[in-house]
């Protein structure tokens, strides 16, 4: 067996085996070209997500938790009801799901159960936000409550709705 003058063809690389020089350079080239194309695409995509918006914050501090009495409290500026039962809080949006009027807190005559009635088109909601009469298409929104890490005030997140029955425990 004599060695031929031609270089042996680059063996196809398989896992575990060292790959040849040419294959390596070819792969590197393709990889770099791919990265060079992907990077601007990713950056363009990133530019669509703003770092800051010029609008009022959707997380609003509404005061220390112990300033709330047990039961519902209506906050006019935020149009929400904050409910307190001891250490458990929850927050219902007061915006009617029909056309956006502010629902009014009512108490049932005998049981004193809380209800919400919309003054505009007569939609009615139970205390847990379930709609049961009128044109309202869905229950009142549960909004997320948090505790501000800096000064321990209760924070209403007007942008984040939670599942029905959501509770925040201190």
């Amino acid at each position: 067996m004599s060695e031929g003058p031609e270089r042996p063809p680059t063996p196809p690389s398989s896992p575990g085996e060292p790959i040849g020089r040419r294959a390596l350079i070819a792969r590197l080239g393709v990889g770099l070209a791919g990265a060079a194309m992907a990077a601007p695409i990713l950056m363009s995509g990133r530019s669509l997500v703003p770092n800051a918006l010029y609008e009022a914050p959707r997380k609003v501090k509404v005061g220390p938790p112990d300033h709330f009495a047990d039961g519902p409290t209506f906050l006019k500026d935020q149009r929400v009801f904050v409910f307190r039962e001891g250490k458990v809080f929850h927050c219902l949006s007061a915006v009617c799901t029909h056309l956006g009027c502010t629902v009014q807190l009512m108490r049932k005559e005998r049981t004193q159960e809380v209800e919400f009635h919309c003054p505009c088109h007569g939609s009615r909601y139970r205390g847990d936000g379930t709609n049961y009469a009128g044109p309202a298409p869905r229950p009142l929104d549960y909004l997320r409550l948090e505790l501000a890490p800096d000064d321990a005030q209760l924070v209403v997140d007007l942008a984040r709705t939670e599942d029905k029955g959501w509770r925040f425990t201190l």
Binding site: A39, A52, Y54, G122, P149, D150
Partner: protein, 398 residues
């Protein structure tokens, strides 16, 4: 043949890729990121991991809509609204509580009081230490430059941008001292200040607007700045403008510093009206309107206001006036109901028909007790109406 263009192309491609990666790196590591990490570990150390997890990340800002300002200072100065970080060095120190009581951060932001460039997120630019940013941060360094005893003295300058018409400003002793001296020494004898005063010297109402180029610093031995010129001139007017007739009042350095702070603060501001002290930005009712409203809210007919009946109905004898007058005057309901519905008023209230059936079930749901209360009140309103009617007819009972 070796193709040089391929190498060129490859090099350009690599360069472009490099730039992209560098930009992405910059974007991922903005100037405030190390401060935020440091603050997070500080909170973890002091208050535990739970509160550290709640520390916000990314660009923080206070958006002041009316002022068209955005203050991003809290991106680094994260401790401003925190409690219990008073002893921590800047940039994480808690803000003193007293000034924030009347100037909540959410409404006033930072730069109205402190100066600096709210939009900027890198240190020299944010503190206004860049060319052409003319509202630098009024910090200790600036106070030290002018040898103030109080390191926060310069900060008081910006209090007077809004509080220029207040005689005394709580927490601004330099400004108060300057204003007192201006009154005591009778500056108004020669100068117009806020529309009052003599015409010998220039009007000082907007003296803070005078450009730095309009001053002659050639004789000055201190810093060649507006503030340096004012202090030197106040202490020795003739040395700095030889033709002046302004007397030397013998001000000591602190007097001159105090007056100079007041003088330079007399300038135009872009503070929106709703943030200015004493501005009334609401409809103030006339005394008659206020009284009418009081009667409606608190008078004997307040039930009809609380329940919303007044939206459609007058109750004239109780002073309740409906803006819409959709329904009839309820002062006459006792005699009106039988005429309209063929039933007595109490029967109608208990079992309404027509429009009122809808209103009393949907818009104004009344309990049985409330319906009875409404009936009693309407009887009273009718009696009152009849009495008034009788008095008008010359005292004859009808």
């Amino acid at each position: 043949m070796f193709r040089y263009d391929r190498i060129l192309l490859a090099a350009a491609g690599l360069l472009a890729l490099g730039i992209c990666v560098a930009v992405a790196w910059e974007d991922a590591r903005p100037g405030y990121a190390p401060y935020q990490e440091e603050f997070k570990s500080l909170v973890e150390e002091r208050f535990g991991p739970e509160r550290a997890a709640a520390v916000p990340a990314g660009l923080q800002q206070i958006w002041l809509e009316g002022a068209e300002r955005v203050d991003r200072c809290t991106s680094c100065h994260m401790g401003v609204t925190w409690q219990g970080l008073d002893d921590v060095p800047q940039p994480f120190t808690s803000h003193p509580k007293a000034p924030l009581a009347h100037h909540p951060v959410e409404r006033f932001g930072c730069t109205f009081c402190h100066g600096g460039q709210g939009y900027a997120t890198e240190l020299p630019a944010a503190h206004g230490w860049v060319e052409h940013w003319e509202e630098p941060l009024l910090d200790r360094h600036l106070s030290a430059d002018y040898r103030f005893r109080d390191p926060l003295a310069f900060l008081q300058f910006r209090c007077n941008l809004c509080h220029r018409f207040d005689r005394e400003i709580e927490g601004a002793p330099y400004i108060n001292r300057g204003k007192r001296l201006i009154e005591q020494k009778g500056c108004r004898a020669c100068h117009v200040i806020n529309g009052r005063g003599g015409a010998i010297g220039p009007d000082l109402t907007r003296v803070g607007e005078k450009e730095p180029e309009q001053y002659d610093y050639s004789r000055l031995t201190s810093l060649p700045t507006l503030f340096g010129w004012q202090i030197a001139h106040l202490q020795n007017p003739k040395s700095y403008s030889p033709e002046t007739v302004m007397p030397d009042f013998g001000f000591n350095t602190e007097d001159a510093q105090a007056i100079a702070l007041v003088l330079l603060s007399w300038r135009d501001t872009d503070v929106p009206a709703e943030l200015l002290p004493g501005a009334i930005l609401r409809d103030v009712p006339t005394p008659e309107e206020a009284e009418r409203e009081r009667v409606m809210r608190e008078g004997e007919g307040r039930f009809f206001v609380e329940k919303g009946c007044f939206i459609c109905h007058d109750v004239s004898s109780f002073g309740i006036v409906s803006a819409t007058k959709i329904g009839p005057d309820l002062a006459l309901a006792v005699e009106d109901a039988p005429r309209r519905f063929g039933r007595t008023l109490d029967d109608f209230l208990m079992h309404p028909s027509g429009t009122m059936e809808v209103v009393l079930s949907k818009q104004i749901p009344l309990t049985e007790d409330e319906r009875r209360e409404a009936f009693e009140l309407l009887k009273k309103a009718y009696e009152k109406h009849m009495k008034e009617q009788g008095a008008q007819d010359g005292g004859k009972p009808r």
